[in-house]
Amino acid sequence: MTSPLQQKIKITGPSVVTANRTWDGVVIYRDAHNGWTTDLAQAAIVRTADDARALLAESTADDVGAIGPYIAPVAVNDNGTVEPGNLREQIRRKGVTIDLPASA
């Protein structure tokens, strides 16, 4: 695997690092305290390629806790709330866009 330090990283706006938690697969975000959170509002937000690279490198180093960290775009609203930046990330955060089959 290419280390994030060697990867070319481009970001076009505010971004977070996201991954899945190893033991249960749940969606997680890197926070600003060297840990992970399931709450996007608690995620560390980066705005430059250098910061993104550093956050990704730190995230990738935790191979035991998280699978496949990557940089994902977010939108920061005027009131400071954070939203996923694309459909894929919206689905990862909010779940499937359909009704799950339910036993009667």
């Binding site: 033991w23 499937v96 339910a102 036993s103």
Partner: protein, 551 residues
């Protein structure tokens, strides 16, 4: 049914115990994700958008009622109460925790069910006709050979790390329900002049980003030689298949780059050195496997019992009977397809309660046996025709009697971006909208046989290339768009569909499909000219005009 013996059960249990240890090492940090990934994949464990996904094999699409109940148990206990039947005779659970997987596997092992090689670069679940053993006119039961190949390919010491995944399908019927022409190896059972069983062997079929229809590499391989012949193909592929580019690593690319003649010659050379080996199947061994398939004790019954005649006065029952019930090898019996395509539902999903109920119905009406087909529906393979009205009433209550088998709303779809981390677009909502548009049963019946296949990305898990209408999701500037192909088919006349024009946005897909269907209804030469036949006769132009004239 094939009954696992102590030997098969031992292996499955040994595999569960190995995987338990691997999960433990992964969670303790002794295995990196890079190392663990191939190991978990070979036990059916993927990572999707929200969670792990667990793919369990249903070898040759045959399940016993206790096995189906155990699937329901896994759905309830470790997942969210439902499962998804796939296009390759597997079931998937979408929300499972890695830490729970060894227990789930152990529960399944107690009924002889496993997840071995449902992913990874190895030989996948060997699939066949879901009507095997009951289809009228089949040459012989293909499951005997599927089981021999299952055993042969399970934990193969040479072919567990192939360049890419490897899929084998077998058919023994004139009408190919196993889609053998779009598999890495397709096997068509037939007999030689001496009446001996053998196989027409096809190689190099496959979908994905570069679709190919399989080519015949050998017209007749004797049954006793099938393992050595498959081994020869795998050995050539293992050594020469490309490993530099994942998108060019399937055997279809090797066959294409070498040419079928050269590839066949390589295999033939290898086979000359391999054929007289311990892989040769003497008839005693084949008969031993055959003897462990048990068949129902059929009764002598009428094809036209009074119960059936009386119930046929009900137009709802009559419609279902015409649509979902097929002839059986035995007089007085029928094959019943259970549609997992209700209006507005995700194709191929079944709740745990439905699974339990189907298991009960199988016990009551079908000798405890359930089948799973690549069209993502279930079947009860041996139902006495006199029981059909009673069965229908109960299926109807369960939402499993939608009379749309092989019709426009019997849609094959991949999980798409709602679940899958590879997807570019969603698939299920498109399928749901289409089932609503064509919910009128009279209209669907008027249209006739029409297969719609939807894939949320170029990997083509929804087999869009071979759908009569294929829908492929692509991303354009962050928006979901869909390319439409028409004229594909997956059966014995398999062909890749033709793109009709520029991709259309999410919100317009259902309108476009309606336009295509209306064009077909106006253009068909006779009421029984199928959609694909009209496309074959007229080409895509008239459809293209209809779709894009006003867009």
């Amino acid at each position: 049914m094939y009954a696992y013996d102590e030997i098969d059960r031992t292996l499955i249990n040994e595999r569960v115990s190995e995987f338990r240890d691997q999960v433990k090492r992964r969670l303790a940090g002794e295995l990196t994700e890079d190392e663990f990934k191939m190991l978990r994949l070979m036990n059916g464990v993927y990572l999707q958008l929200h969670a792990y996904m667990f793919r369990v094999a249903i070898p040759y699409g045959t399940l016993s009622s206790p096995q189906l109940r155990k699937m329901a148990h896994v759905a309830r206990r470790y997942d969210r109460g439902y499962g998804h039947f796939t296009t390759r005779q597997n079931i998937q659970f979408n929300w499972i925790k890695l830490a729970d997987l060894p227990d789930a596997l152990e529960d399944l092992a107690s009924v002889g069910i496993h997840a071995m090689q449902t992913s990874g670069n190895c030989t996948r679940n060997v699939t066949t006709d879901q009507w095997a053993g009951v289809a009228p006119g089949e040459v012989e039961d293909p499951r005997i050979w599927a089981e021999l190949l299952r055993q042969y390919s399970t934990m193969h010491p040479e072919f567990s790390f192939l360049p890419r995944k490897f899929k084998i399908a077998i058919t023994a019927s004139a009408y190919d329900r196993a889609a053998i022409k779009v598999h890495d190896i397709g096997l068509r059972i037939h007999k030689n002049e001496a009446g001996e069983t053998g196989f027409e062997v096809l190689v190099g079929g496959g979908l994905g980003r570069t679709p190919f229809i399989g080519r015949v590499i050998k017209p007749f391989v004797h049954g006793r030689d099938i393992l050595s012949y498959v081994e020869s193909i795998l050995r050539v592929y293992n050594q020469y298949g490309r490993r530099d580019n994942i998108y060019k690593a399937r055997i279809k690319i090797l066959v294409h780059e070498l040419g079928i003649e050269k590839f066949a010659a390589e295999v033939e050379d290898e086979w000359l050195a391999t054929r007289d080996s311990a892989l040769t199947l003497d008839s005693e061994v084949v008969e031993d496997i055959r003897s462990r398939f048990s068949y129902p004790h059929y009764q002598k019954l009428s094809d036209t019992p009074d119960e059936l005649t009386a119930a046929s006065a009900d137009p709802h029952f009559a419609r279902w009977l015409k649509n979902s019930v097929a002839p059986h090898q035995r007089t007085g019996y029928a094959i019943v397809t259970l549609s997992l395509k209700p209006v507005g539902g995700p194709p191929g999903d079944a709740t745990a309660d439905q699974m339990d109920a189907v298991a009960d119905l199988a016990d009551k009406y079908s000798f405890g046996e359930i089948r799973v087909g690549h069209e993502q529906n279930l079947a009860l393979p041996s139902v006495a025709r006199r029981d059909l009205p009673a069965l229908w009433r109960q299926l109807d209550k369960l939402g499993l009697a939608t009379p749309n088998v092989n019709l426009v709303t019997d849609i094959i779809a991949c999980p798409g971006l709602d679940y899958c981390s590879l997807a570019n677009t969603r698939s299920i909502p498109i399928a749901q909208e289409l089932t609503r548009r064509f919910a009128n049963n009279d209209l669907a019946e008027l249209i006739g046989r029409l297969h719609i296949n939807i894939s949320g990305c170029i990997n083509a898990c929804g087999h869009h290339h071979v759908g009569h209408i294929g829908i492929l999701g692509v991303e354009k500037n962050g928006e979901e768009f869909f390319q439409i192909t028409i004229g594909g088919r997956a059966d014995e006349h398999a062909v890749v569909g033709t793109l009709i024009g520029p991709a259309v946005p999410f919100a317009e897909v259902a309108d476009v499909i309606e336009d295509i269907v209306e064009a077909y209804l106006a253009l068909r030469a006779r009421p029984d000219e199928l959609f694909v036949q009209t496309v074959e006769r007229l080409g895509v132009e008239p459809f293209k005009e209809r779709v894009y004239a006003t867009r």
